[in-house]
Amino acid sequence: MPEIVPPAPRGKDGRAPDVLRPGGWVPMRQYRDNDEVDFAIVGTGAGGGTLAARLAEAGFSVVAFDAGPWFRPLEEFASDELEQTKLYWTDNRIVAGDNPIELGHNNSGKAVGGSTVHFAMVALRFRPEWFKARTKLGYGADWPVSWQEMWRYYDEVEDALKIAGPVRFPWGPPRRRYPYRPHEVNAAGLVLAHGAEKLGIKWCPTPLATVSAPRGLSPPCVYRGFCVIGCSTNAKQSALVVWIPRALAAGAEIRDLAMVGRIELGPNGLVAGVHYHREGEWRFQRAKNVVVAGYAIETPRLLLNSACPQFPDGLANSNGLVGKYFMVQSNDAVWGTMDEEIRWYKGPPSLALTEHWNYTDTGKDFFGGYAYMSQGPLPIEFARTLASGRGLWGQALRDAMSNYIHMAGLKICGEVLPREHNRVELADATDEYGLRTARVVFGYCDNDNRLRRHAVLFMRDALAAAGARDIWESESTAHLNGSCRMGEDPATSVVNADGRSWDIPNLWVCDGSLFPTVGGVNPSLTIQALACRTADRIKAMAARGELDRPAASPARTAARAVEWS
């Protein structure tokens, strides 16, 4: 394959790529390794990229690191599935457990902008009750933040991304209108709509983080359909296109192709900075605070790999919960053949959805919920689904693929329960940097399987009601969450509501690892909302001189949460 990935970092020499202009550059403030910057952030995705921007805008000195390259979508993204695998984290990790998960294209990006460079742009809020899942719905755990607080931050993020959503959103409490209008629902989405109407449930055009009208230098979506392998239009409002430019404008430094391998703990029990590998050598950046935002596998991996005499089991891991309560979301799907031409390759993959089973608590034999969405896989992705879902090859494969333009599909984003057994730990194998790789152990529980069964049966009915025939199923997972969860009790969580670790007051987490429960919606909007909240909390704490003091006790945290809501 052609080596398009640039071998040399781009964020250096006082400038950074302006990805909205072909060949463009913007000036970038740079710090020396010896400067003790306020915040060193590991990862520049939905968590790290957002936090970098908000902290820099609040006046803090910020250096954010990403192991991945700084892509220029306009020039470097090809309309080619094979070529675009360059967006994924394809370094080896071990998967194990009753249901070993697939990694890479479905959940792990490696780029400035993180997994938002390849994500499907679905932008959904948590159902309010989910923030108190244990208290209100009887399962999982409560979040240490309130839905009212999060609602404000959802407003902020939706506006920052100019989410294109329906004029009226059918579920949840009243909310502000989406900043941009919804995209036209393609035939694949209309199949979902027809099925939903026949079964008497609501549906709507999916709120998406890609613009339906011009926005600055971003032209509106051209419906090319290659979204999950990289948007070469720059209509997709990824962190690369939204938060990173804001961070740069506010004086943050972004270091691409910089793999952070270890967080250094100082003699005073506070972290002192990060060891990172860039341009062939290991370097050390001093920092007053370190935020880990590498998503739910790399974050615990880094904390575990940073073990030292004071924390022999890994930083922030005195209670052994780093890496535990790992969650994915089930992605079971049904597929069928329609008489009409669907040509699902046009437009974002999920242009219509229903959250009916997220907001209905009757008629379920399981806790939790799921949304389901229309689908539009490109040829390789669909051929792989056929192969793994139906085991077809030879003439049978040809016959099945020949119906490509008549296919329709529905896929869930299904809630998985948090269980301590599911975890990210260190394997013995090491990577190219000599760092122990991650081993991800995952298995569904009975509740998860009942949810999946319910979903598949329902979606089969919906697809058949819309007129599809020869319906079959596939399974997979998406998203990574929960492995450094937040909570009010230091005994059962790794960090508090602000993402601040109980063990080390200047060590923070800001990504999907924070989630105590995962809900039945894609996590990206919630991760970004949490990052905005974290930034505001840090600002407030700094103003009160609290950044240098240990994390508040649960009682004080609860009092503050009330103050904020």
């Binding site: 100019k162 329906p166 004029v167 009226r168 900043p179 941009y180 209008r181 919804p182 036209e184 629902v185 209309l190 709509a193 027809h194 109407e197 055009p205 339906s212 009208a213 011009p214 926005r215 032209p219 509106p220 051209v222 239009t233 209509a235």
Partner: protein, 252 residues
């Protein structure tokens, strides 16, 4: 409108054979209007009259089709269907064009100064038609600019300036003699100018889509419709003509 319906029905790949009708109708209406403009005979012409009436009728039928198209989609009359279904305002424009052409025939045919139109005095009738036409065009622009999230501040212009002109010409229609002719004329002229400016803005809009003019095969269809804003110019001109008629009848 010929251009607009051609482009939009091409976009729809003429999935219904009838979609060719408004193109023919508007082409013919254009033809008879040009013919009528050059014809020195101050008399109505049977063929021109027939074409004009047919155009209006086509618009009426088209309105029915478009309404069916929008409501038969999923979810009854939803915002999504209003945004992306067949535009309700467009066939209305054909009705208007046909009606205006009919009006023009009537007006030219008048032997005396007391010109009438559909049984009413011509001046107020034409003014009312103009006001109605402006209202429809404003609604269409408002809907589509709402769909575009008013992302460019200039998109507020067609929902601020023409309403004032529409209000003024409607007022003139109700008055026996127009009380604010100069003000009304100003806002109509401004609206006429806006029609041209709008075409320019829309061309800019097409150029800033992905691939710009090089990607014309997508962007002329997907981007803001360049032939749409000039409807304001056409209506404003009709309004100015109505003002003239109202003004001349003052001397009766």
């Amino acid at each position: 409108m010929l251009t607009d319906s051609s482009i939009e029905h091409y976009r729809g790949r003429f999935f219904n054979r009838g979609m060719v009708l408004p193109i023919i109708a508007s082409a013919l209406t254009l033809g008879i209007s040009l013919h009528g403009a050059h014809d020195p005979t101050p008399r109505a012409h049977k063929l021109r009259h027939a074409v004009a009436a047919a155009a209006a009728a086509t618009g009426l039928i088209g309105g029915g089709f478009h309404a069916y198209n929008v409501t038969k989609r999923e979810g009854r009359l939803s915002w999504h269907d209003l945004f992306y279904g067949a535009p309700l305002g467009a066939p209305f424009a054909l009705i208007l064009a046909g009606t205006m052409a009919l009006a023009a025939e009537h007006v030219r045919d008048a032997r005396d100064r007391r010109i009438s139109l559909f049984g009413q005095p011509a001046g107020p009738m034409l003014a009312a038609l103009t006001a109605g036409g402006l209202a429809g065009t404003i609604a269409e622009a408002a809907l589509l600019h709402f769909r575009g999230a008013f992302q460019d501040k200039f998109m507020y212009l067609p929902v601020t300036i023409p309403p004032i002109a529409a209000g003024l010409i409607a007022k003139a229609a109700l008055e026996q003699t127009p009380r604010w002719p100069r003000l009304t004329r100003f806002w109509l002229r401004l609206t006429a100018a806006l029609g041209f400016a709008g075409a320019g803005f829309h061309a800019y809009g097409v150029s800033r889509n992905m691939g710009g003019w090089r990607n014309w095969s997508q962007n002329l269809l997907a981007g803001p419709p360049i032939p749409a804003p000039p409807s304001f110019t056409a209506l404003a001109l009709a309004g100015l003509a109505a003002l003239d008629l109202l003004g001349s009848s003052r001397h009766d």
